[in-house]
Symmetry: C3
Subunit: 213 residues, 3 copies
């Protein structure tokens, strides 16, 4: 089954793992967690969404637990974050940047893997989003705050667009699937960065907007 | 396998989905979440408990992800909640009412589906409760508060009673299973409403009752 | 498959269930939860990590849901905690003691069960840790606080050491597997108690150590 997912999938998936692990390690270090806490949060942010996806599509055991490449990638990213923390912090909002990159990569690979396991378009789109946002939601739950994806600029919606492009491309086959994946990736990443830059938000309806702190 | 669960199951299950989605969308809108946040919380409250149940009984992929009826039902309920919010708010404690309805419906359908997949009475009762309270617990975790089910009037205990009636009915076969389901539903819903009205609570033992805020 | 896990596994696993249920029931009672809340938290702390492990290794339905021994053990521990609460409180830091015991037992049995299901060393170590810390993390999420394992004295690292000893013992077969299990248990438990006594911590890197409250 994994064979249907060729090399571009693996490159994108490990790049997403690296990006989310940087974002997770940075957040954990900013919160003052110890070495294990940093490694654990980095690994959970990087692999948590994919593990939930794998449980839902029946890929047992989840790739994040059984394939050493994910663990090594997440730990390498953590060590780089710890070692070069002053550099990482000097970069402009690095957590947000790596987070947007991981979001786009995982929306694409999450949808691809669900399709490769023979599931329908709805499953692929919902699990594309889940793969993309799951790690970040777990991070926020563990750090005891309302998940940022529920409050801020177009985020999961960008993952929805990326996953939908993958599903449409797989259905209509207008383009080679690698090209579709790259288009989906660029659209999702661009949408997220533009939303951050211009503070695009989805409509809010409530008259009582204050979130309890 | 799904064939064992005939039409009444589907009607009850989609009604529960609708009820919990109304409850989730209302809570999300009151917290000032954006359009995606409202849809996401509504979907998670409506389908989260069932997805956990399906993972535990080996129904892969979970029905909440693969069957479009759940998604459409949850989104319809969200749109109604957003569009008619002033009406929904004017109803007397609508979140609590729809919550009690969803609780009762899912306690019954959760136990039924576990039995239909060939699992034992313990699994059916525990997963009946999980289906019933899982979505609400996920909502409270995402909104960063102690799950209300751990603090208030007889709630999960009502789901326990409903699921147990389904399991006993399935074992002794005194009545047609549809009739057993309706009795379980009425008992659970009635118990929950009476508990709310009379503030019935289970015993509390601690001398330090204050919950940290 | 379960047959590969003979009697010592079952004894250790039920002892761990009992220890974690005591720790969970004590924490829940201290927070003023009602009878159901205490039973629910005790069961979740005792069985939550194992249920996540079973989902990941494909042991469906999870043993914690299908084997009545776990439920009965967790409820017995809860009743003892409620009935003898003044005694339990007088013991020196009983939550921490039973927690350390459950941690060590579950790190060993979690790794053993993953290996018995034919998974690799990485899966066994990661799920040994998950079994050991999963219940406590769920408890802290439900009680709405940052999981203590992310902040305090060597904890999950002790589980890592215990699970690794099981995996190495299984690979090299220098000793009978029961003896390896007992060594792993003693090392993990001793490490945790020594860390508590001497306040051993893993390195912390951040300059801003204050956790937001």
């Amino acid at each position: 089954m994994e064979d249907k997912l060729h090399s571009l999938f693996n490159i994108l998936d490990l790049t997403g793992t690296f990006a989310f692990a940087i974002s997770g390690a940075t957040a954990a270090r900013q919160r003052g967690l110890d070495l294990f806490g940093i490694l654990a949060i980095a690994f959970i942010v990087a692999c948590g969404g994919g593990i939930i996806r794998d449980l839902c599509i029946g890929s047992i055991p989840p790739a994040g637990l059984t394939n050493w490449r994910y663990l090594v990638t997440a730990f390498t990213a953590s060590v780089i974050t710890i070692g070069l923390f002053s550099l990482v912090q000097r970069l402009n909002r690095p957590v947000i940047f790596f987070d947007a990159l991981g979001l786009s990569l995982f929306a694409v690979t999450g949808a691809q893997k669900s399709l490769a396991f023979g599931h329908n378009a709805e499953v692929a789109i919902l699990l594309g989003i889940t793969t993309a946002v799951g790690g970040g939601v777990l991070r926020d739950i563990l750090l005891n705050r309302v998940p940022v994806i529920l409050e801020k600029e177009i985020y999961a919606s960008a993952a929805l667009v990326g996953a939908t492009i993958v599903v449409l491309g797989n259905h209509f086959k207008w383009l080679p699937s690698d090209l579709t994946a790259i288009i989906a990736l660029i659209v999702c990443f661009g949408l997220r960065l533009l939303a951050l830059h211009f503070h695009w938000n989805l409509p809010v309806y409530s008259t009582t907007k204050k979130i309890q702190s």
